[in-house]
Symmetry: C2
Subunit: 534 residues, 2 copies
């Protein structure tokens, strides 16, 4: 099997060919009306990299590697800035060693060594962080990145309770492959699905397949086991509890600063066989949002209830660029869902929508297939969604500056929020790039508000991309915070979101979290600087 | 208005008449085949009570009282043991002073005084704790109970997002009365509804009206504001977030050890106008549980999906004592629910149930009434449920020993769990009381398991009730823990559940929580001994 690309999304075999890169340059040159040069291919051999500052002790030598490709691959996550730095061979602060534990005992041994020596230990799942969540901190004696990819097994399936005990290092597709023979699925599809892990989803409060009701991975966690320098932290398997603050909810979102999640009991799903989906178009973005609100406030709990603004609807759904679209999807492993779809369509129509009659699809007889999750409009959307990040590989280094940002906001603030954020970003794109594109969709919706997801891009000045990106990111984050949103609905905080997270989270809570970290990680070796300062 | 009873459930006007007490004694004498004496009426005037150990400073004198009735009323919660101690006039460790703040500034002033002087500060909502959650600790310099009953207003309603900002001290009925003119309801009905508060629900992770999906108050919290000795801890209003561990989820279940919750933004509901309900009988308790599992795993999300075992079905639902019953209820403010009820009935039938055709009730045309929440089978059940705690007032002091305990467990363990817990309690009742009664219902159900609720009672030996109760409580808690349950699904931990909670919660988590408390309450004045030791 091909290795992971040390700079791009996916495997080395997913890196673009020369021809693809040339074609991408031609497309973007047309788009921006300026000739964009195809940049040189990355070449790791020519990269100078700091020698490891320490050696593995003999007892751990079999678990630790100083292989250059591994160290480069573990230097960054996959944000715009991360990929561009890697593409350009900028690795001033790589991990000194990468650990590849095969068992919890291995994790414990590596963690003890780091704790004893004062080396930074960075828990690492799929490395898909877009917020600097796995990037080593500036000052350190030594850095060990703990990659859990060898701990990738479904250990037990409980078909009665519909739950499974799963190792934290499993990637999305491998997890689904192991659940499938049992007739189950986790149905958690973040856009990073292929290259992110259960453990990563848990510590970043990943957002998944369900647009309503169970949106975050949080809702599917039955119990978690985490190793800390002070010992294991494991909750009981329970369907619900009221015994003190939830121990699991303190791990969820902890981003590796409290310990290394090694496994979890997860609530799994019957594979859906009943389905219903439809798309509804709207003359305005505002009307589409009101329809979405009506559906979610009626608590019909669709699996999909996403709206795309006219720009995104034009790009991804074949619309004319002046209409917004609402994509509705219901699914069940147990009961027909046609009547729920009908109720949702009725509400969308009342809100001014036009049902695309050709799109209405109801499967109310169980389908005999092991691959039912991939059928229909929802499945198509899912596949193109999952393939999205690969597109960036082809345009890498052409000089474009772009990113996405996501948040959530209560409905009462929504229309103003959107107007203000768009105004701020339009101004910033003009100021920084002389123009650019900006679009929005909802990824998840709640009875009390949506989770909007914005995408922007413009053309950078050669060599100025990082500074330009920083200015755009700041404009976006400032606007989100000033208008009452969260700095992240499901991308996590990491290092990149810290300035705004520090405004958002209650100061007294930060003191409590800092003290809690100190109690379980007294030497402060775990992912220092992420979420809080020591 | 009548004052609160210092020993019974509700107001002084809810205390039984002499005639009611005599009739209750006759009924129980018949039941146990032994003549039970009507005990003397409680008389607070004759109770010796320790003088307050400190005086209110002049600046706080208007907020603090040393009134004997207030001090007695705030000495205990409302567990079996609490009520009996109060009934018998046993008040060895009352709060020295009771604070009645009218504003957050008042709370802050009282808290600062306690913090500065090292007095214990006990946040107090409705005082309905059945786990020793508001009982003063043994050793202290002085005790101030902070009763938030004067902070009882709905401050803002956001009809667009369906959310409201509400002060923590509001009792259930007052909250509903204030939301009703806006067309909304919180729809959170713990059995303590009349005499418990929003703040109490939040810090104890109260279980409410919804049997599935949004079971705990946790799910309806949009943001919380809590005063700690180190300052306010307030989250942003957000429909969802992934920015670090949830600050709200650390307050939820904190039982007053981190601060005093003063207000919260709560997700509210449209008043239901569409309804569907039905009851289904089963030849066995086991079959009823399987039906319940099928309905909840199909994610139909009924508001009510409660099963009663044959004993409870005989007592509360008029069945013959050999059949179990499943009560199904669906409701919506926005869309008809008849088809969901039909799907649930179909699943229950498949699982061996007999639909009680006369019970099937579907209201699929909006009902013109402001009081729709009180109609139908669900409403009837709710009213008798809410009245339940008053019954105990009449039998108080007759010598019976009884209690309830509740938990949750995954489905794979369920039938064994129930068998083992019943065996342990039957043995314990025989050993301690020479026999007794034991029954079970489900209060909430999840796709991965039920939340069973057990009720037991037997006859005590005069003067031996406390020791006998302790033995029965220990037998119940030991059995729950040994068989994999939680020590509490929604009754909280307090002081009474500590021995078992200490087994249940991860040790490392307890260290983190202790450190977090120390950070926000450095002098350890807030509810010491609840959840964790200093």
């Amino acid at each position: 099997m091909s290795r992971r690309s040390y700079w791009g999304w996916g495997l080395e075999s997913d890196e673009p060919t020369e021809e693809q890169r040339i074609q991408a340059a031609e497309r973007q040159s047309l788009r921006f009306g300026r000739t964009l040069e195809v940049p040189p291919r990355p070449d790791l051999d020519s990269v100078e990299m700091r020698a490891p500052r320490m050696r593995a002790p003999a007892t751990l030598a079999h678990l630790l590697t100083d292989d250059k490709h591994e160290r480069a691959s573990h230097s960054y996550g996959k944000s715009f800035r991360d990929k561009l730095r890697a593409f350009r061979g900028q690795f001033p602060n790589p991990p000194d060693l990468v650990a590849l534990p095969k068992s919890e005992d291995d994790v414990r041994a590596v963690l003890e060594w780091c704790d004893g020596q004062g080396y930074v230990a960075i828990p690492y799942g799929g490395g898909s962080s877009v917020v600097g969540g796995v990037e080593p901190p500036g000052a350190s004696k030594g850095i060990v990145t703990l990659d859990l990819r060898e701990m990738n097994q479904v250990m037990e399936v409980d078909p009665i309770s519909r739950a499974a005990r799963i190792q934290a290092g499993v990637l999305g597709p491998d997890l689904e492959t192991q659940l499938r023979p049992h007739g189950f699925t986790l149905r958690h599809y973040p856009q990073s699905f292929e290259w992110s892990t259960l453990g990563g989803w848990i510590v970043t409060r990943s957002g998944g397949h369900y647009a309503t009701n169970g949106t975050h991975i949080d809702d599917f966690v039955e119990s978690v086991r985490m190793l800390t320098p002070r010992g294991p932290w494991e909750s009981r398997r329970l369907p619900g509890s009221g015994a003190g603050p939830s121990p699991d909810r303190m791990i969820l979102g902890s981003e590796g600063i409290l310990g290394v999640v090694t496994e979890a009991w997860m609530r799994i799903q019957g594979r859906p066989v009943f389905r219903g989906s439809a798309s509804v178009t709207f003359a305005t973005w505002e009307a589409a949002a009101l329809a979405c609100k009506a559906v979610v406030q009626a608590k019909l709990w669709p699996a999909n209830a996403r709206i795309l603004d006219p720009v995104e609807a034009g790009n991804s759904a074949g619309l004319d660029g002046t209409h917004a679209i609402l994509i509705l999807g219901f699914e069940s492993a147990d009961v027909p869902v046609g009547h729920l779809l009908q109720q949702a369509m009725d509400l969308a129509k009342e809100a001014g929508g036009t049902i695309d009659e050709a799109s209405v699809r109801v499967v109310d007889n169980p389908v005999e297939t092991t691959d039912a999750g991939r059928q229909g409009a929802v499945g198509e959307w899912r596949n193109s969604f999952i393939r999205g990040p690969y597109n960036g590989n082809m345009t890498m280094g052409l000089g474009m500056v772009g990113d996405t940002f996501e948040t959530s906001i209560t409905w009462d603030r929504w229309p103003d929020f959107d107007r203000n954020v768009r105004a701020a970003m339009t101004e910033a794109l003009q100021r920084v790039c002389g123009g650019g594109t900006l679009s929005c969709r909802f990824t998840h919706v709640y009875p009390d508000g949506p989770a909007p997801y914005y995408t922007f891009s413009g053309l950078g000045k050669p060599g100025g991309e990082f500074e330009m990106w920083a200015q755009l990111k700041k404009a976006a984050s400032d606007a989100v915070m000033a208008n009452g949103g969260t700095i992240t609905h499901h991308h996590a905080v990491g290092r990149d979101h810290r300035p705004w997270y520090d405004i958002q989270r209650p100061d007294v809570f930060a003191e409590a979290l800092r003290a809690a970290k100190k109690a379980v990680d007294p030497n402060g070796v775990l992912n220092p600087g992420v979420l809080i300062d020591p």
